[in-house]
Symmetry: C2
Subunit: 353 residues, 2 copies
DNA sequence: CGACGTTATGCAAACGTGTGAGAAAATCCC
DNA sequence: GGGATTTTCTCACACGTTTGCATAACGTCG
């Protein structure tokens, strides 16, 4: 075998090989299985030889190959993380939490963008399967329902963060949308607002449905009438929000406050209002959802509902760890949302223009 | 062997195993090496059997194990990406570009946060080595010089993005800092500013040095005097920038414009100026660097220098692909910076208060 | 009909690690 | 001192794939 290696080194390029278990077995003058055990601190090996072997291993910078180990143990100690786009500030913070937890437990994160593109999604799933990941976290504000079944086909634990499609059988970490938007809307009501608009996401997404329902419950709780014309829809991004805001401003009696599905939407709203010469919050109040980093730097700083994104990532990963160790953690973990009051919300004008 | 498997399935848990090459070999009634070749479209296999095998493989949802393949080919088709924090909007976009390129070429991204923490950095390097990644990209605005040598020890191609430590032997993708800040400063000069401050990063980082040098060259080019008191330092984040701004405002003759090391710094500056009742750009102009997403949403929208982050990630990855295929791409790729003029820069007041 | 190419397939050795079974050595007990 | 027991180590197989080499099948030609 040694000879083989030599020959290879001569005939082909002198391809570099990391030092293997055999190399140190030779140096330590024991069989390589003894080395394997010694490095795992197996009780089968005497302290003396174990220490000798460990010393040699340390000195020659030996690190066991995770791929060889993965082959025999059938555990790769990797987890796949699917995101729509890692450039999205929401998901990148969730991933930050996931990665930290992974690192602490000896797992590595394999990252894959889906771009909400079905083709890409298929490739991602394939890649995860071929890599034999031990678990999967899906973090995407708008995940295609399409590939959840594909993912589940590979018989691997899956945890979803802010799952948009209710009724799935999978495990998930979710923000308390209803409570959060209830508080946000109540905040506006307490300030004295009576005509509060809701600028939502596209229909069908669970988070939109839930945030809308919190809004409605707040209105009901204050015995305020629900005015359908005050509910408009965007797509969770700023551009569409601008158009939606303008439609609200065209109403005979425009709202005195706008509660937005998320901060990106609120950004568009702020911009549209500014373009119309309206001053926030004097003329009109705006409240967002997410508490993105940017929310405290807008003009004025945005009142919004905080999602503890990093923590959500952490929780998702902890849940996945439990699943992978065969336990059965609670199906749906929910995380409380926290209202953050800044300067974009204030009492309405006494006499509406 | 078959028998062995059975026994295992009986004695231990009926552990799920993905279908392997042997399973389809049995179904197709050929040896498993024939299957391997057939799936690689090897010319050694007749069309007829190849097609038969491929059909069976497709039907049974077979996907070759990347870990087994990696063991024999000594290529894992994975690349490690180190970032200080994936939650940083700068790096997350770079990673977005890297990931796309990876995906297109059949590579997977293993992500690791270093948090600029030496301990963590060590662990990251170890993990990458154990995983036998084929290449590494380091994307971090402030990478610890510490572990570059560690990384290079593992004999794997490395590409750095916006490397902060000049004189390394490695390959890198860099923004044209000098040109960018030259243009930014010239822009302010052309608007009529004479007292332009530079609010830099900590000393020693290459990008700070370069951006400062662009600033100086612009001054020199316009025959403006260099005033040392107009140069102050932060740490690339907003908080420190606030303090630095206040020190500038305390000067007997404060600047009429501030050129900032990056957008996060500029955010702090905007906030500090606002706190002092100064209006941007009427009272004072502010220019940033990076063109983060947030830059167009500040008040007023920020004039800044754009770094094509996504593209830089892509270029880094392409460079790495070349390196891995044995080619020797250009050592240092530089990318042009682009001045984006928004509303935070304007001519100075005629008569300085 | 046999030698000889061709072509298609199978065999077996790797890759680097984990691990059960068993051999060898050391220790203990009576 | 001999057998039982414990300790320490080695053997050999397995994980799922790639791949060089041997070989079987088959047709062709002399």
């Amino acid at each position: 075998m040694l000879f083989c290696k030599r020959v290879q080194n001569i005939t082909t390029d002198p391809v570099y090989r990391p030092t293997s278990i055999k190399d140190i077995a030779r140096k330590a003058n024991v069989s390589f299985s003894t080395v394997s055990r010694a490095l795992q601190n197996s009780p089968l090996i005497s302290r003396r030889t174990a220490e000798k072997i460990q010393k040699i291993a340390r000195e020659s910078g030996y690190r066991a190959s995770a791929v060889a180990r993965g082959l025999v143990t059938q555990k790769t100690k990797t987890i796949g993380v699917v995101v729509t786009s890692i450039a999205d500030p929401f998901v990148s913070e969730v991933v930050d939490g996931i990665e930290e937890c992974c690192n602490d437990h000896g797992y590595s994160v394999i990252l894959a963008n889906s771009n909400a593109d079905p083709d890409r999604e298929r490739k991602v799933v394939q890649a995860f399967y071929e890599r034999r990941v031990d678990g999967i976290v899906v973090t995407s504000s708008r995940v295609g329902a399409l590939y959840i079944p594909l993912l589940s086909e590979m018989r691997v634990p899956i945890v979803l963060v802010n799952n948009q499609h209710p009724g799935e059988f999978v495990h998930s970490v979710m923000i308390e949308n209803v409570q959060g938007s209830l508080e946000a809307t109540n905040h506006l009501i307490q300030l004295g607002h009576r005509r509060i608009a809701y600028l939502g996401d596209r229909f069908g997404h669970q988070s939109d449905t839930e945030r809308f329902s919190g809004y409605r419950r707040a209105l009901d709780g204050a015995a305020l009438p629900f005015v359908p014309e005050l509910v408009v829809h965007g797509d969770g991004k700023s551009e569409k929000a601008i158009a939606a805001t303008e439609s609200l401003l065209r109403l005979k009696e425009p709202p005195t406050a706008i509660f937005c599905y998320n901060d990106m939407t609120a950004l568009g709203v702020l911009r549209a209002l500014q373009a119309h010469g309206l001053v926030v919050p004097t003329d009109i109040s705006v409240v967002g959802f997410d508490d993105l980093f940017i929310a405290s730097y807008t003009n004025p700083p945005l009142t919004t509902v905080r999602q503890p994104r990093r923590r959500m990532g952490l929780l998702a990963m902890e849940s996945l760890l439990h699943l992978m160790s065969g336990q059965n953690p609670s199906q749906a973990i929910t995380v409380a949302a926290e209202l953050v009051i800044r300067e974009s919300s204030a009492p309405p004008r006494k006499s509406p223009k």
